[in-house]
């Protein structure tokens, strides 16, 4: 493999690694036909905001077979979303920086007045 980077060195936790001749051929085949990891992480971020084409989704699936890292990245983007969307509930609990009691009172008073009108 003259000068070609080996995307699957020893200890690769991916489903497909170069463990035998058959796997090596598959890894090289998939490595050539799917986007490189640097591109994959960009595509993965896009996939969080819009639906990818079927072809791209298949390509990503194939890529995961040879790249456990991109698969982890994808999973973690979803975890990040879950984390971020849970923040507001937690902020109230943990934040010391809350509305001052006078501000709260003013808002309540305004609502009360409004009801009377």
């Amino acid at each position: 493999m003259s000068g070609e980077y080996n995307p699957s060195p020893e200890g690769n936790p991916s489903f497909l690694a170069r463990r035998n001749r058959f796997q090596t051929a598959l890894v090289r085949f998939i490595g050539k036909r799917t986007p490189k990891c640097r591109e994959v992480v960009r595509i993965l971020s896009q996939s969080m905001d819009s639906k990818l084409s079927l072809t791209m989704r298949i390509k990503l699936r194939l890529h995961y077979l040879i790249c456990a890292w991109c698969q982890r990245y994808q999973k973690q983007l979803h975890e990040l979303r879950k984390i971020a969307s849970s923040v507001p509930d937690q902020v109230d609990e943990f934040s010391q920086d809350t509305l001052s009691s006078t501000a709260k009172e003013r808002m309540k008073e305004a609502l009360r007045e409004n009801r009377r009108e």
Partner: protein, 192 residues
């Protein structure tokens, strides 16, 4: 709406501006309290009781956020696109694959397990604070407010392409920061 009865969501009202947009709200909240009062007063007669009062107030606040950013977008120049410009290129080998020494680690214990811990949220907030303001705003609007991307583009007056770049880099930076400051540290596991 029953006249005279207590507004059922009132206890949540105070917390709501915080929830609407975490960091942004904490900076703007005080400034906005008086505006909210005015708006609530002003808009009250228009409220027909078709939705709950809470969601109605949320809509007002969300629109306020949009207005705020729209104004900001016209006022500031756009240097935040420079943030994380190299997109962690040192983590990839020149052929574009992950460097296997520095590729993403498995998060253990998983985020769901640690999400009830105050220390975790501190770490998350610290990481969020490291992002440039605009990048953090974009991320929060998308992931915390679950605002659709076209709406963010409109509110912040930025192109869809710039938005994607900023979101990608924000996610990349946050993922990295959480991994370095939380998931990588082995002592965390024993604390559950």
């Amino acid at each position: 709406m029953t006249a005279g009865g207590d507004i059922p969501h009132r206890p949540r009202l105070d917390g709501q501006p915080l929830g609407v947009c975490g960091g942004w709200a904490s900076r703007q909240r005080k400034k906005n309290v008086s505006h909210e009062q005015t708006d609530v007063k002003y808009l009250r007669p228009k409220f027909r009781g078709k939705s709950s009062e809470r969601s109605w107030l949320c809509v007002i606040l969300k629109n306020k956020i949009c207005d705020y950013f729209r104004k900001l977008g016209r006022e500031t120049c756009f240097t935040d696109l420079e943030f994380l410009e190299d997109e962690l290129s040192h983590k990839f080998v020149s052929q574009g694959f992950w460097n296997h020494e520095t590729g993403p680690l498995e998060w253990k214990p998983e985020a769901e397990v640690v999400m009830h811990r105050a220390e975790f949220w501190e770490t998350f907030r610290d990481c969020l604070a490291k992002l440039p303001q605009r990048v953090a705003d974009v991320f929060m609007l998308r992931e915390m407010e679950e605002m659709e991307t076209p709406r963010i583009c409109e509110a912040l007056n930025i192109s869809p392409n710039n938005l994607w770049v900023m979101l990608h880099r924000a996610r990349m930076a946050l993922r990295e920061c959480l991994e370095m400051n939380w998931f990588k540290e082995p002592q965390q596991e024993g604390h559950l």
